[in-house]
């Protein structure tokens, strides 16, 4: 498959969790720049409003994917705000204990938070949006779910136990779901953006030299390219809004 860098995503409906900082914010920038219609989710109203002010065409939603009761309200606002959904990026992540801790020193509550944010949240939100993603796939564009992974999902790094275990679970869930949903035209990708200069990384490794870290903008471009490559196979015709009524 050839890779066309900076491929356009005009009209593609994309939702991003954790969209007000780090990689998520870089994705909102990158995907709107490529012409996608973007909804983003984050926990605090102030941050959502601030990012929305800088992105007048993006649809800001306040909610916490780690909370069960927030999932359906988030899903409802995503499909309503975008008029459907083609791509979901489960990006919001929790480190678990901060500062990072040996597993034996990790409080159960911190492991639970990592699992709620990094595994249950993506599971619940993807499940709630599966109908919309399947409808998109049936109607022309194969739909895509991107789950943001980490090398800690594969390698055993001391002190990254809660995060690593949760990301390993997410990665495996992504693989099983991709097998199961391929006949529906829904494709799941697990993407590792690398070590980036983000607030999350600063919490994990406070004394890291930012100049040695990848820029989140670079990772966002790679993820946008991966989405475009995956969609390109499924695009049968350019998406057009079939009928647009402007209410008075």
């Amino acid at each position: 498959m050839t890779t066309q860098l900076n491929e356009r995503l005009d009209g593609v409906r994309i939702a991003i969790t954790g969209g007000t900082s780090g990689l998520g914010l870089a994705l909102v920038d990158e995907l709107t720049r490529r012409g996608a219609r973007v909804a983003f989710v984050a926990r605090t109203r102030e941050r959502v409003d601030e990012v929305a002010r800088g992105h007048p065409l993006a649809y800001g939603i306040v909610g916490d994917v780690a909370k069960k009761d927030d999932i359906y309200p988030i899903a409802l606002q995503i499909t309503a705000g975008l008029g459907g959904l083609d791509v979901l990026v489960n990006n919001a992540s929790s480190l678990g204990p901060v500062p990072l801790a040996l597993l034996a020193d990790t409080d159960c509550e911190d492991l639970e938070l990592a699992l709620a944010t990094n595994v249950l949240g993506p599971f619940r939100l993807t499940k709630a949006l599966l109908g919309a993603l399947a409808a998109s796939a049936r109607e022309s564009v194969g739909s895509v779910v991107v789950n943001i992974s980490s090398d800690a999902a594969v390698n055993a790094y001391p002190q990254w136990g809660a995060y690593g275990a949760s990301k390993a679970a997410l990665r495996h869930m992504t693989r099983v779901w991709d097998e199961e949903l391929a006949p529906q035209g829904i494709h799941l990708l697990s993407l590792d953006p690398g070590d980036m200069d983000t607030p999350l990384h600063a919490l994990a490794v406070p004394d890291a030299d930012p100049s040695t870290l990848k820029r989140p903008e670079a990772a966002a471009r790679e993820i946008a390219d991966a989405i475009a490559a995956r969609l390109r196979d499924g695009i049968k015709s350019a998406r057009e809004v079939e009928a647009v009524g402007v209410m008075p």
């Binding site: 007048p56 649809y59 606002q77 705000g81 919309a132 049936r138 109607e139 647009v244 009524g245 209410m247």
Partner: protein, 380 residues
């Protein structure tokens, strides 16, 4: 029949009463329904997600407590919302360029609504008090939402209303303040996950298209493996009951729908292969039969279903229906009369009663084949 009072979409003991084209009746486990479909058949479901359409609040002029149940909408069209944010002086050129464009989002401003006085679903709708006297221009304060009564619709409970504010704020208000519409036969408060079918997509229905509760992803996979095609349409299913006989006679209200091009193509292909069109739910029948031309061809696109289906209706598209069990006084039952004659349906009702089938949205199901089916010519 017994009301199903537990909000479980696919109880393991759910049953299915089958009425075949010759009027014969038999019983089955409902989770075996895919076995009733043949290769080249096309099953079509309504993929509307259900709005949290019950909103509690106050009628501002009188201060009286009200429950507003959103019950209908003019269309499924998307609307342009003018981007509210202005580019800052320091903003990039990109932001400045974007601010001149606008956000496309699902319309959420205007609804038909049924208004109740104080109380909630725990009181039978038949026993709910009237709202205070409503007049055009009255404001309704509904949690974070504010709406204005635009007009009265020939009944003290029925109004057209318009929400104030930007679409995204209205959607956020509905998502956080609204509750699913429910009735006294289900005592526990419902959550959205109780009423969204597994295939729920756009949030435009006011009550769940509950025939779709039968579907799970395993059944969709089983259809795929059996050579049965599966497609969806979206119809904004309205409310099933108001508790008021005058209003209930006006049900179903007009319901906007959208038929995707892929679904119209799947219908054409199923016909070409001599397969049957099987509707999962009355809403699917209503949309397809409304959209179909005299020749039975279903074009893609949007429409507003405003017809009543009954014994005199000629079905041009649908060959069989999977639906809930319906009491003979309901509009859903009237629709079944388009599929089977009254003697057969009376036998079916007697069989449902005798065997203790459960009714309402979380109840058992029926599968009814259209009587005396003739294979039609494929339209050009």
């Amino acid at each position: 029949m017994i009301a199903a009072h537990t909000p479980v979409q696919r109880p393991r003991d759910a049953r299915l009463l089958i009425v075949d084209a010759s009027g014969r009746i038999r019983h089955s486990a409902r989770d075996a329904f895919v076995g009733l479909l043949n290769p080249h058949d096309l099953a079509i479901a309504n993929d509307a997600a259900t709005l949290p359409a019950s909103l509690h609040g106050r009628h501002a002029p009188s201060g009286a407590v009200v429950e507003v149940r959103l019950a209908g909408r003019p269309s499924l069209a998307l609307e342009f919302e003018r981007a509210s944010a202005r580019p800052r002086q320091s903003g990039s050129e990109r932001v400045a360029a974007e601010a001149g464009r606008s956000l496309l989002t699902a319309d959420v401003h205007r609804f038909v609504a049924v208004v109740f006085g104080a109380g909630d679903f725990r009181t039978r709708t038949e026993d709910r008090p009237l709202p205070p006297k409503l007049a055009p221009g009255d404001r309704l304060e509904l949690g974070p939402l504010s709406a204005t009564v635009e007009s009265l619709l020939d009944h003290p409970r029925l109004v057209s209303l318009r929400f104030d504010g930007a679409a995204r704020d209205i959607w956020a208000g509905l998502a956080t303040h609204g509750r699913p519409i429910q009735y006294a036969h289900v005592p526990a408060p419902l959550a959205l996950w109780d009423v969204w079918t597994p295939i729920a997509a756009m949030p435009v229905a006011f009550e769940p298209p509950s025939a779709g509760f039968v579907l799970d992803w395993a059944s969709i996979r089983a259809m795929h493996r059996r050579g049965v095609a599966f497609a969806t349409l979206t119809l904004a299913a309205g409310i099933s009951s108001t508790g008021d006989p005058d209003l209930d006679r006006r049900l179903p209200f007009d319901e906007p729908y959208r038929i995707p091009a892929s679904t119209a193509a799947a219908i054409h292909e199923a016909r070409r292969q001599r397969g049957r069109i099987v509707a999962i739910g009355t809403t699917v029948v209503r949309a397809l039969e409304h959209a179909a031309g005299r020749d039975g061809v279903v074009p893609p696109g949007e429409g507003v279903a405003n017809q009543r289906l009954g014994p005199a209706s000629e079905l041009r598209v649908v060959d069989a229906i999977l639906s809930g069990t319906h009491e003979p006084d309901s509009s859903h039952y009237q629709l079944l009369r388009a599929f089977a004659d009254d003697v057969t349906l009376a036998d079916a009702t007697a069989a449902l009663e005798a065997s203790g089938y459960r009714t309402h949205e979380f109840g058992d199901s029926v599968f009814v084949e259209r009587r005396n089916r003739v294979v039609r010519q494929v339209a050009a």
